[in-house]
């Protein structure tokens, strides 16, 4: 018999015996024990610490037993796991039933906006991307969690929640220093490439002969462009299959906007320095004065139609036309997402790590027979306008959001469910299922070291210093739902060559200013937009920082590094 079991069983029996006589008889403890033994085996807590955490949930949930709460989140593996498995665990342990609905993120945003607008309770809580932090902070309709846990939510706040352990709290904090959302899952957009192809001596030699430097992880957009050209134009075929040096998508569809509002301009270097977002000009090109948005067009001090932004769109259009598969201009996000797994793509500059699990399917040609990937992810290359101290990529932080229009008792019950899903008892197992880390303790756990080789560099990225430069949309954006559609509607004009990149961005910047004015006219609780007077763009272009003047040379020499050094480059 296993010696651990000899000790564990009597201790557990004694524990159950003791709690059965405690004044707070823990009715769900047997159920909790079952879940701890079957599902939550991997945790940074010891079994006893997990039991204590579960005992707290059982006790705190008593007033809400029998209640059914309803929450909603976007459609990714992590949330499916929550909706189908963790709701059952929570219900078994606490007696609170949860319907966890799954839908597209656009629908989540429409639903939360509707509830905020109508003050009519549709859901008891939302897992909503932290990109809306600027909206939430200004609306006055979102509960400040940092206040809630000290006041009416004090009794239902988990003592072992350990907020300092979360990696994404800076994304969900308003300019007033208050926490408005709590991250439930996070994933990033990184550079993706076929490590097996890049390691081939014949391709390395050929690349060096043409471009004069090593075929490796590109550090700037020049190298990315060279590698894209190399595979599409010079290599053309590998092992009898057509190959491409780039993949992207350009269909006029809301999903086209995500690519750009998430991080494209920041990757080129369009905004100012500042983590998590550039100040005073962020990666949307919106300038703030204090916390007040004052404009997006260069003529008002913004950078949305500045040289760096226009350069980034020009490169997007050129690469899509010259190096991506021929039909990619007509694809949307979902259609394009499947392509790297089919084995014809050498690299992709903008790849969401939420696809990690899907791309480690052993049936795919990009996966080895032992299940390890032939590909890797690495920090993305920087555009010529990017400078140290700036945000580079995007990190999605789906975060628990509570609205003031939700009745307090329902909000408290939903807060218990939210904390259960991010508790240390549950979070490591959830990370193993969905690969969307939220806690430092999980990222640095022994378990993640054991399994890191399976995930193509995901764990290495999250453990590196690079991580801090990957951030969501920030607080300069005052009303995300009212402004976001401008991205896909205008970028599509450039992608489909109806307008030049300069004209598309001029049009978009003008419309963004108008929308900012509309947001101001409609009114917000705080930090309401107030547009700068339009003046000669040269005035702003000659000031330090964003908007930045056009560089004389937008294509410096390509630079690459080995995979290991590409991570160290951020130390």
């Amino acid at each position: 018999m296993d010696t651990r079991k000899i000790f564990v069983l009597p201790v557990f029996t004694l524990f159950l015996f003791c709690i059965s006589f405690s004044p707070n008889s823990l009715a769900g403890m047997a159920e909790a024990e079952q879940w701890l033994q079957s599902e939550f085996k991997d945790s940074t807590l010891t079994k006893d610490e997990q039991r204590k955490e579960m005992a707290w949930f059982i006790d705190a949930a008593k007033p809400f037993k029998g209640m059914t709460i309803r929450v909603v989140s976007e459609r990714i593996d992590t949330h499916w796991y929550e909706a189908n498995t963790l709701t059952k665990a929570f219900s078994d342990i606490t007696g609170i039933k949860v319907v966890h609905e799954i839908t597209g993120e656009d629908d989540v945003v429409k639903k939360i906006s509707t509830q905020m607008e109508l003050e009519h309770n549709i859901y008891d809580a939302y897992i909503n991307d932290s990109d809306l932090i600027g909206t939430h902070y200004r609306s006055g309709k979102v509960v400040a969690i940092s206040d809630f846990i000290k006041e009416e939510g004090k009794e239902v706040t988990l003592p072992t929640l350990d907020l300092d352990d979360f990696i994404g709290l800076s994304f969900t904090t308003g300019p007033d220093g208050k926490l408005y959302q709590l991250p439930d899952q996070q994933f990033a957009n990184l550079y993706w490439y076929r490590h097996d192809w890049f390691s081939r001596a014949d391709l390395q030699a050929k690349f060096k002969q043409i471009y004069g430097y090593e075929l490796n992880v590109p550090q700037n957009w020049s190298a990315y462009e060279d590698i894209a050209e190399f595979f599409t134009v010079h290599v053309k075929e590998l092992d009898g299959n057509k190959v491409y040096g780039h993949m992207d998508y350009g269909k006029k569809d809301p999903s086209l906007g995500w690519r750009f509002s998430d991080a494209w301009l920041s990757m080129a270097g369009a905004g100012d320095k500042g983590i998590p977002n550039g100040l005073p000009v962020d990666e949307w090109g919106i300038r703030v004065d204090g916390c007040v948005p004052v404009g997006a067009s260069v003529s008002r001090g913004g950078a949305l139609n500045g040289p760096a932004a226009v350069y980034s769109i020009r490169k997007f259009v050129e690469w899509l036309g010259q190096y991506a598969p021929p039909n990619s201009t007509a694809m949307n996000f979902s259609q394009a997402g499947a392509l790297p797994g089919q084995g014809n793509i050498a690299q992709q500059i903008f790849w969401y790590t939420a696809f990690t699990a899907a791309l480690t399917d052993p049936k795919l040609s990009v996966t080895n027979s032992d299940g390890t990937p032939k590909w890797r992810m690495a920090p993305s290359p920087r555009g010529p306008y990017w400078e140290k101290g700036m945000k580079l990529g995007y990190q999605d932080a789906g975060s628990w959001t509570f609205l003031t229009s939700t009745p307090i008792e329902r909000r408290k019950a939903a807060w218990l469910y939210a904390q259960f899903l991010v508790s240390k008892t549950v979070s490591l197992q959830k990370m193993l299922v969905g690969l969307t880390p939220i806690r430092n303790s999980d990222i640095n756990s022994k378990k993640m070291t054991e399994v890191a080789h399976k995930y193509g560099g995901l764990i290495e990225f999250y453990r590196s210093s690079a991580r801090v430069a990957w951030t969501p949309t920030g607080t300069n954006v005052p009303d995300y739902p009212s402004l976001a559609d401008l991205w896909w509607k205008n970028i599509a004009l450039a992608a489909n060559k109806e307008l030049t990149p300069q004209k598309a961005m001029d049009k978009m910047a003008g419309e963004m200013d108008e929308r900012l004015q509309n947001v101001a006219d409609k009114g917000q609780e705080r930090c309401v937009p107030k547009l700068n007077e339009a003046r000669d763009p040269e005035y702003w272009l000659s000031q330090p920082g964003a908007p930045k003047a056009k560089l004389a040379n937008e294509k410096p020499k390509g630079r690459t590094l080995s995979y290991e050094d590409s991570l160290k480059a951020w130390d």
């Binding site: 309803r70 909706a83 189908n84 609905e101 799954i102 656009d106 629908d107 509707t114 009519h120 569809d253």
Partner: protein
């Protein structure tokens, strides 16, 4: 001034005036009790009442007709001053219309026989079960998009008999429609097992509709929610 130019200008002004006066909206919906149905030959129902009141309060003239969904959809895509309701907004549809939302917030649930003993608490619980719905329903659309197989027929009502006869295990239906159908037929041995999805349904208007009109309708709709008008109408049908 050249007489031709004067005449042309007059014609243009007259045509502009007549087009302003002729801006009567055609509002299209399908037969879907209790949201939309004909009572005494006239359109009635929850969403018919909400949309009619919305246009009246906004001061816009309208004709409301109940027609097959496909015809309503294609007509709204092609003809100006036409709107369709209640439509679920999706990324695919987003670019095709101007939107006023939500006309109504609906829910979809799983219905089972009273003697069905499996506890349904998540979507996963229906895996392997035979789910019945009808072609083109939002319930089926959602389940199919999540990879669940559904057994579809042309009308929803016969699903109740199929459920009772054990030819399907679960009936996926709009909660308001299901209750209405069961009440009408005196069904007592079917129960609601899990309400699994909430949908915002909108008024979708032809792309030529002015943003000014859409804004006015949106503002008025919000007022109808805050002053309780929508709730009062919905309560009549629950």
């Amino acid at each position: 001034m050249n007489i031709k130019i004067i005449l042309a200008s007059l014609c243009f002004i007259l045509m502009s005036l007549s087009s302003v006066q002729a801006a009567t909206f055609t509002l299209l919906t399908e037969e879907l009790p209790p949201y939309a149905m004909k009572v005494g030959g006239k359109p009635a129902g929850a969403t018919v009442e909400i949309v009619s009141k919305l246009f009246e309060r906004t001061g816009l003239d309208y004709n409301l007709r109940i027609v097959p969904w496909k015809r309503a959809y294609v007509t709204t895509l092609e003809e100006k001053n036409t709107c369709i309701f209640p439509v679920q907004r999706s990324q695919e549809r987003e670019v095709k219309f101007h939107w006023v939302s939500p006309i109504v917030i609906t829910q979809t649930g799983f219905y089972t026989r009273n003697d069905f003993d499996k506890n349904l608490s998540t979507l996963n619980d229906v895996e392997g079960l035979k789910i019945g719905s009808y072609k083109g329903s939002a319930a089926a659309e959602y389940l199919n998009s999540q990879g669940y197989k559904t057994s579809l027929i042309t009308r929803d009502a016969p699903n109740i008999q199929k459920l009772k006869a054990g030819r399907i295990d679960v009936w996926a239906a709009d909660t308001l429609t299901a209750v209405h159908m069961m009440k009408e037929r005196g069904i007592k041995d079917v129960k609601e097992s899990l309400v699994y999805f909430t949908t915002l349904r909108a008024l979708a208007c032809n792309l030529s509709t002015s943003s000014d009109t859409i804004d006015k309708l949106t503002v008025e709709l919000k007022k109808m929610y805050t002053d309780g008008s929508v709730e009062t109408i919905m309560k009549k049908y629950q």
